[in-house]
């Protein structure tokens, strides 16, 4: 009876959409201008029989418009997209989480042959992600890192957007919002 008279809260799945962004305070984005981004989006990873991580990719029907939206925001903010072998200032890696597992920090290496790698900043943990989260990470160049890994200097998470009832407009809105609330990414 008490539950029935308790306030209702969210009524629609869109009501729980949330976008979280965080950045490394000591990193100077304004001196950067180029970025590289893969053309696929990882959704999961499993170990094969040989013990190697095998990524699972999002269907391009969904991945392509998401990647286009990210690129559009980066272009609008004054960034230039270059190839990974053109020595980009930063790398932007998008992923979607199919299940809440700790796979995300590994998949990066598959694309870039281990040359670029990154680690999470200490104030943010993977456990904050829920199933269906769209994650974008900008990582810095590992040039000055003794372990050859750049740090994640920006993380944008659109929680719960990539759900079963897939709605590209909600995902696009989440991506736009992540950039809107991150004015330090604007170079122009």
């Amino acid at each position: 009876m008490l539950a029935s008279c308790y306030p209702a809260g969210p009524e629609y799945v869109a009501d729980i959409d949330a976008v979280l962004t965080t950045f490394e305070k000591t990193y100077d984005f304004s001196t950067k201008s180029t970025y590289a981004m893969p053309d696929q989006i990882v959704v999961d990873a499993e170990k094969d029989l040989g013990g190697s991580w095998v990524p699972e990719y999002m269907n391009p029907i969904f991945a392509d418009p998401i990647l286009a939206q990210i690129e559009q925001n980066m272009t609008d903010n004054g960034w230039e997209r270059v190839d990974i072998d053109e020595d980009p200032d930063v790398v932007l890696t998008p992923a979607a989480i199919k299940s809440t597992t700790y796979f995300y920090s590994y998949w990066y290496d598959w694309w870039y042959g281990g040359y670029w790698g990154w680690y999470y900043p200490p104030y943010y943990t993977v456990s904050s992600y829920t199933t269906g989260s769209m994650i974008m990470v900008i990582s810095s160049s590992p040039e000055n890192s003794p372990i050859n890994q750049g740090q994640a200097v920006w993380i944008g998470v659109a929680n719960g957007l990539v759900t079963g009832s897939y709605d590209i407009n909600r995902v696009k809105k989440g991506i736009d919002q992540a950039f809107t609330q991150s004015p330090y990414l604007k170079l122009n």
Partner: protein, 197 residues
């Protein structure tokens, strides 16, 4: 400590005067935020209930206890909330629950008449619980406040062992704890019945 005192006093006042008249009441409570609560939720609450018990140690003095529950709620428009270098955008759903537990003393101005105004004071503790929900997460803060509750009201005796009861209360919980550290308060209008025997 406050809770212990409350229950000891509860035993005393229920066991004390077996022959005296007893008032047992239930009221529906409408809550109006005040103070720190206004900044969190500024909407009137239509979800509230009180249960009251009074032992009349004299015809015009009742000692007893009361238990209540008021829940305030609001949803916020989509907005960005920034703390340090973390920004979160989304809709917020805010809940504030108050459960006051009081020992009460009431003074009845006209105990022999059908319209019987009264004033009262409750002293005890209040459990305050505040939740901020975003996405699938909730940010919870709570406190056990030392609390006071002045009250003015009116009983209308229907002369069949029951009176209609309307009252206004101000519930004030003093600063407490380490989470919800601000003092918590609200006004309430309470409508209900008192059974007299």
């Amino acid at each position: 400590m406050t809770k212990k005192l409350f229950f000891i006093a509860l035993l005393l006042c229920t066991a004390g005067a077996l022959k005296a008249q007893k008032y047992t009441g239930i009221t529906y409570s409408i809550g109006f935020p005040s103070g720190d609560l206004t900044d969190f939720i500024d909407k009137t609450s239509f979800r509230g209930i009180n249960i009251d018990y009074k032992n009349l140690i004299q015809p015009n003095i009742g000692i007893g206890f009361s238990v209540g529950w008021n829940v305030f709620y609001t949803d916020m428009d989509e907005a960005t909330y920034t703390v340090d270098n973390i920004s979160i955008w989304g809709k917020q759903y805010r809940y504030a629950n108050y459960i006051p537990l009081f020992i009460n003393a009431n003074y009845y101005l006209k105990p022999d008449e059908s319209l019987n105004p009264f004033v009262g004071l409750g002293i005890g503790t209040m459990y305050s619980l505040r939740n901020t929900d975003m996405n699938l997460y909730t940010y919870k803060r709570d406190a056990w406040n030392f609390a006071l509750q002045p009250e003015v009201g009116l009983l209308f005796d229907t002369e069949n062992g029951m009176a209609l009861n309307v009252s206004a209360r101000y519930t004030y919980g003093f600063q407490a704890g380490s989470e919800l550290t601000e003092a918590q308060s609200y006004f309430s209008i309470n409508l209900g019945f008192v059974f007299m025997k």
